[in-house]
């Protein structure tokens, strides 16, 4: 029997959903609002909500004091570079595990995932020393490498699950039709896995964009992405909430816009294969 949906129930659940959504959105909204306040108003008690003196001077100060574009460019290059390299490694890896599994494939997958269970701080010192000795500290290449390696297990796992959904028959048909492994990947597998590839790419890009632990510890200026840019506004003596908020708003704006335009793709990718 179908559950009876009364108008009351619809109203209540809609209100609850909006409330929940608003609660999640509130910190971001607050941050954006604060970025338009003066430093004095930013920590005024009781806080002002909409009726304060709107100003854009924080943005001007932030841009004047530190080079936003430099950090944004670093973020794009580090997140984009690590994502692309991770995909290039993960596609063949996931292909072989999905279509040519061996007895140990499951173990390999689990082992890869287990590396994500270790807290990164546990290997900070050795990695820092290795980076210092190889001259990778504060270089974009160094950040690309660490973020790529850090996210690789997740990328491989995601691609593996998408590839698993592709019927083996179709790849065999391609092989009968004379496609080499390379052409099979290019003409058949990759186009069929586009939704999965796209969401993996986006998710990994967002993860790399927001990654703060390694970027903060391994870069200072030249290669420093937006995470470092934000952190530079949280000073030990007295907080500059308005400027910090302006810096944060600037830092998350690109990724929010990207996420907004690709939300359909993201949701589809994350629920891929859940229902046939």
């Amino acid at each position: 029997m179908a559950r009876k949906v009364t108008a009351r129930r619809v109203w209540v659940s809609t209100a609850a959903a909006w409330l929940f959504g608003f609660l999640i959105f509130l910190p971001i909204l607050w941050m954006v609002l604060t970025s338009f306040k003066t430093e004095l108003e930013a920590f005024a008690m009781p806080p002002t909500f909409l009726f304060f003196h709107w100003t854009t001077e924080n943005y001007a100060t932030v841009q004047g004091r530190s080079d936003y574009l430099h950090h944004a460019l670093n973020s794009i290059m580090v997140a984009g570079g690590s994502t692309l390299i991770a995909l290039l490694i993960a596609i063949p890896a996931a292909w072989s595990m999905a279509f040519a599994p061996t007895k140990r494939t499951k173990d390999v997958l689990l082992w890869m995932l287990s590396t994500k269970m270790m807290p990164p701080v546990g290997v900070l010192v050795p990695i820092y020393l290795i980076y210092r000795d190889f001259g990778l500290l504060d270089t974009r290449a160094g950040l690309v490498l660490i973020l790529c390696l850090g996210n690789l297990p997740i990328v491989i796992w995601m691609l593996f699950t998408y590839f698993k959904e592709i019927p083996k028959d179709i790849l065999e048909a391609a092989r009968m039709d004379g496609a080499t492994i390379g052409r099979e990947l290019i003409y058949v597998l990759t186009p069929m896995a586009v939704p999965g590839l796209a969401s993996t790419l986006l998710l990994n890009f967002i993860l790399a964009w927001n990654e703060a632990f390694w970027t903060l510890n391994l870069s200072t200026l030249d290669a420093a992405p937006l995470t470092v840019f934000i952190a530079s506004y949280s000073s030990p003596e007295g907080l500059f909430w308005a400027k910090l908020s302006a810096a944060s708003t600037l830092a998350i704006a690109p990724i929010i816009i990207l996420g907004w335009f690709t939300q359909r793709q993201l949701v589809r990718g994350l629920t891929f294969g859940a229902v046939k």
Partner: protein, 334 residues
């Protein structure tokens, strides 16, 4: 040309032997059907010929050349899969053309060949559609189109009709047979449906537990089954088996008689029994008879008989149509 010869072909997955010493000669232009119960190795044998699985031992010759180390595409065969295995992101045209594109044919030639194949299969109006916009029968035709366009030495069919409904299956069965005769290309066809096997094949290979039990024309298998397995597998309803001793034939372990070769005799004639179920189909009547120590017997009588459960009957086997088997299940030739 498309002559396929299997010489002592073996296949095992680890310790499990799937195909045991298969020897087979498939003549050029013939339609050969592999039939057998599920798990008998018929699909594996087909995949070995295709090159999608590697043989553990033995040779596969196509037109006299050993191809066991040749990759699938270079064997000159094309395959139609049970699931159709169409490329979902390509149009019908793209699907049919894919093999030619991979072979590096010039565009005008690909275009001409695709148009020709589509015309043969009545697919011309659908060339620019995606597979998901087609019905099951149309998808099946696209899969066949993809196979014929490459002008292979032989077609390999892996239960291609099993996803279609009954009416369409009969129609496609005719179309496939007609097409194969028209093209004159060798075809190897796997099915578990013995009606498909009997109606389509020039020759049938009956497989059981990885071994070829018998290879012959449909009528040969029906009239002269080589052993108990083939006798029981080919023909519907199934052949009756009674013990030789109980039927008064010493030296014969098992006596087989097909339901259609049992007649209803006069009182006191042949084997007495009691009807337990009578199925009246109009054209035929199936009688399931409890014949005491002979066990349950099935008789197929042409026309309508007013017999019902509980009636006493006497069944007379056609003496010329009796099949005698020894204790190993092999037929005894006289």
């Amino acid at each position: 040309m498309g002559q396929i010869t299997l010489q002592r072909v073996r296949k095992s997955f680890g310790p499990v032997s799937i195909i045991k010493d298969a020897n087979l000669d498939i003549e050029d232009g013939s339609f050969v059907v592999f039939v057998g119960p599920s798990g008998c190795g018929k699909t594996t044998l087909l995949r070995l010929i295709a090159g999608l699985e590697d043989v553990t031992g033995g040779q596969i010759l196509i037109d006299g050349r050993n191809v066991v180390d040749v990759p699938p595409a270079k064997r000159g065969l094309s395959m139609v899969f049970q699931s159709y295995a169409l490329y979902p992101h390509m149009s019908v045209r793209g699907n049919i053309a894919f093999g030619l594109k991979m072979a590096g044919l010039p565009r005008p030639e690909i275009h001409r060949k695709v148009e020709a194949a589509a015309a043969t299969l009545n697919l011309t109006p659908y060339l620019d559609r995606k597979p998901r916009e087609l019905s099951g029968g149309q998808r099946q035709r696209v899969a066949i189109g993809r196979a014929i366009v490459r002008e292979p030495k032989a077609f390999l069919f892996d239960e291609p009709l099993s996803n279609l409904d009954a009416a369409l299956r009969v129609q496609m069965r005719l179309e496939v047979t007609k097409l194969q005769k028209q093209l004159g290309t060798t075809a190897v066809y796997v099915t578990h449906d013995q009606v498909e096997a009997m109606t389509m094949a020039d020759k049938i290979v009956v497989l059981n537990a990885g071994s070829i039990e018998q290879y012959g024309s449909p009528i040969e298998l029906y009239e002269r089954p080589a052993n108990l397995f083939v006798a029981g597998f080919i023909g519907s309803p199934k052949m009756n088996f009674v013990s030789g001793a109980a039927a008064g034939e010493p030296g014969v372990a098992t006596l087989g008689v097909r339901p259609e070769h049992l007649k209803i005799g006069k009182e006191g004639e042949g084997w007495p029994g009691t009807v337990s179920v009578a199925e009246h189909l109009g054209s035929d009547t199936f009688l399931y008879v409890d014949a005491g120590k002979l066990g349950m017997l099935t008789a197929r009588c042409i026309g309508e008989f007013s017999l019902k459960a509980g009636d006493r009957v006497w069944l007379v086997p056609d003496p010329a149509r009796l099949h005698r088997f020894d204790k190993d299940g092999e037929v005894i030739r006289r």
